[in-house]
Symmetry: C2
Subunit: 190 residues, 2 copies
Amino acid sequence: MARWEPGARERLVLAAVDLFAEQGYDATTVAQIAERAGVTKSTFFRHFPDKREILVAGQQALCRLLTDGITEAPEGATPLDAVAAGLERACGAMGPMNREIGARLQAAIATNVELQERDALKSVGLAAAMTESLCARGVPESIAHLAAELGVLAFKQGYAQWLGSAPDAPLTPYALTALDDLRTATRALT
Amino acid sequence: MARWEPGARERLVLAAVDLFAEQGYDATTVAQIAERAGVTKSTFFRHFPDKREILVAGQQALCRLLTDGITEAPEGATPLDAVAAGLERACGAMGPMNREIGARLQAAIATNVELQERDALKSVGLAAAMTESLCARGVPESIAHLAAELGVLAFKQGYAQWLGSAPDAPLTPYALTALDDLRTATRALT
C-alpha cells in the first residue's frame, strides 16, 4: 500500500531512527543501521560520514529553508510575516518521507532523554539562524529574537499536529495556524 | 580573598563543572570529581547518587523557585506579572555560589556540544513547568506557553549579563529588565 518507495538513503534514515528509539543513540552502530536498512556499510558511508550526520543533515536542510524564506520575503514584510514566509518555504518542502521519519523520530524522542537533548538544541539552532536572517532584514535584535522564537514554536506545534493528521494533509496550514495562534496570544499578553 | 567558603557539596559541583569543561561530560568519572574536590568517593555519594545529578539538582531547585513564585503571585496578576514574580523568587535565591558555578558552567557549555544539548533541554523543562503553573492560575494554555517562554528567555538573558557584572550585583534587576525588554519587543511585534 506504500505510495512512497524509500531509496537507500531514506531506508538508512528510517533504520537509524528506529534503532535510536529501540536502544538509544549511543548504543547504535553504523553496522546495525546498514544491516537494518538492508545495505552494506560502504553504502552507508556513501550517504553519511557518520551516524550523527543522519540527525544533522535534516536539521541543516530545514534551517536553510526557513532562513531562505525569511531572507526572500517582500521588503515591507513585518518580522512575523517574514517568519511566516520562512515557515511556508520549509513546510512546502516536507513530503511523505519527512512525515514518515518525523513520526518515528517523535516516538524515539518521547522515550529517550539523549534524543530530547539533541532535539532541544536543534530548536535553539533554528531560532538563532532565524534571528540572524531577521536582523539582516534590519529588524532590531530583541524583536528578531522574539519573532524567531515564535517561528520555532509555530513550526514545532504545527509539525506535531501534522503528524497526527490525515496522510495527504500538507504541513503548511498547520504551521501557519499555529503562528496565527501565537500572534493572538502575543496580543493578549500585552 | 574569598568571601564565600565552599563546603564539600559546593566543591564537588565546582570540580565536576571544571572537569566537564576540560574533558567532556561522558569522559568524567565520579572518582575524578571526588579527587579534584579533595574528598573521597563515599563523600561524593553522600551528596549525589551519580554525576548526572550534579547538573539536575540545580535545575530542580531553580524550577521549584520559578514555579513557586508564579503560584504565589497575587490573584489579579497578569501572566507576565506572575512570570516576573517567579523570576524575583528564583533570582533572589541566587548567591555567590550560583555565580561561581554559573560562570564556569557557561564556559564549559560554550565549548561542549553535549552540555549545550543538556542546557537546551533544561530550558524546555523550565518552560514546561512555568506553563503548567500559569495554567493552574487559569491562564489559557497558548498564552501561558508564550509567557513561560518569555520568562525563560528573560532568565537566560539576565543570568548571562549578571555573570559579566560587578561581583556584588544581585541577579534580580538583570532578569526583570530583560523581561521588560521582551515585553516591549512583544508589543512592537503585533
